[in-house]
Amino acid sequence: MAVYMSASHSENAFNTHDFVPEWAHEEVSTGTTILAVEFDGGVVIGADSRTTTGSYIANRVTDKLTPIHDHIFCCRSGSAADTQAVADAVTYQLGFHSIELDEPPLVQTAANLFKQMCYRYREELMAGIIVAGWDKRRGGQVYTVPMGGMIVRQPVSVGGSGSSYIYGFMDSNYKPGMTKEECLHFCTQALALAMERDGSSGGVARLAAITEEGLERLVVLGNQLPKFSNA
C-alpha cells in the first residue's frame, strides 16, 4: 500500500542525509493564510505569522504584509524566497514609475507588475500574492495574483494553504458595504478560524487598514484571538 511505499522511499533518502535534520533540506515556505477585503474608502488586509521549513517553524512572528508603495501593500504566500524577490523587484519598478508619473501609482499598476513577473516566470516561481491598496481613481481595491500568474479584482480574497478552510466562512459572512471596523472584525475571525485548522498557519494575526489618510497596523496576539473551540 502507499503508506509502506512512502516509508521505504524516505528510508533511502535518509541514508544519503544521515546526520542532517529534515528542515535543513526543506525549502522555506510561507504555508499561510492571507486575506484582503475592500470597503468604501480603503482596504483591510490580514495574514498569519508562521514561516516553516518542513515541520520546523523558522519564524513565528513573520510579517507577510509587505509595503510596495505608500498606499499599496501585498500579502505573500508560497515560497518565502520567491515572494520576497518578486516583491522587491516590483517595489523598485513601481517606485521608478511613480517618479516618472509624478503621481502616486495606481493599485492596478502594482497588481499588473506582479502579474507580469509571476506569469513570465510561472514555471520557476511558487508565489501566490494578493495586492491591495487605495488610490484616488478607484478607491480601495483588492487584486489577487495566484500561482500561474492570472489577475482578477475581487471585493474579498483569501489565499495560502489555510484559505481552503475559510471559503465557507467568507462566502457566508462577507457582505458588501461593510465599514472598516466590520472588515477588521471579519478578517480577525477568518484568520483565527484558519489558524486553528491549518498546521502551516499560526502565531499572531497581523492586520492593516489602508485608506486615503494612510496606514493603520494592528497585531492580535495568539491568546487574544477569538476562540471557536467547542471543547
Binding site: 502507499a2 478552510y165 471559503y167 465557507g168 466562512f169 457566508s172 458588501p176 477568518a190 484558519a194 467547542n230
Partner: protein
Amino acid sequence: MERHFMDSQTKGVSTGTTILAVTFNGGVIIGSDSRASIGGYYVSSKTINKLIQVHDRIFCCIAGSLADAQAVTKAAKFQISFHSIQMESPPLVKAAASVLKELCYNNKEELQAGFITAGWDRKKGPQVYTVALGGMLLSQPFTIGGSGSTYIYGYADAKYKPDMSKEECLQFATNALALAMGRDNVSGGVAHLVVITEEGVEHIVIPGDKLPKFHDE
C-alpha cells in the same frame, strides 16, 4: 465518488462529496450532497443518496469509494440487526459505529471508505461518531467529512453552538452543505437531510435551486 485508478496510489485521498452530522437539543441531523463523479471529470449520478439507514434510528453517510462503502454498510446492517435481535432491544449508536470501525480497521489495506454514523438511542440520546479511513472511531458533537468539508471548517467552527433547536440546526446544516457545494466541484446536486429524534425519522430533500444563496451568487 468512484475511485479514479490513480487514487489507489495515495492513501487518504479526499473524496468527491460533502457529508456532515450535527447534534441538537433532542436529536441529530445527518446530511450530504448527491453527486457521484468519476475523477472529477464526469458526474456519474446527480441524485445519489449517500445517507444509509442501518437501523430504525441510526443512519450513516459514506465518504470514499462507493463500492467499498456499499459492501461495508451491507455487512454492518446485517451485523447490527442480528445484534439487536440477540439483545432484544434497539442497538446503541456506539455499537453501530463500532461495527463499522471493526470492518474498516480489520480491512484497512483493501478499503478506502470513511463513515459518519449518527443516531438516537435511549442510553445517551443523540450522538455522532466518525470512523476515519484507517479505522479510528471518535465521538464528537458534530462532524464534517468528504472533499467539500475542507471549505466549511471555518464556517462550522464559527457557527456551531451546542444545544441548538431543530430549526437552527437545519439552517446550520443546509447552509454548510450549500457553501461546500458552491466551492467544491465534486460536490453538488441536491441536499439530503435526515432528522433523527426519539419520535422518528424525517427525510428532507432540498433541490439545488432552493438552497440558500450567498453574496456573490
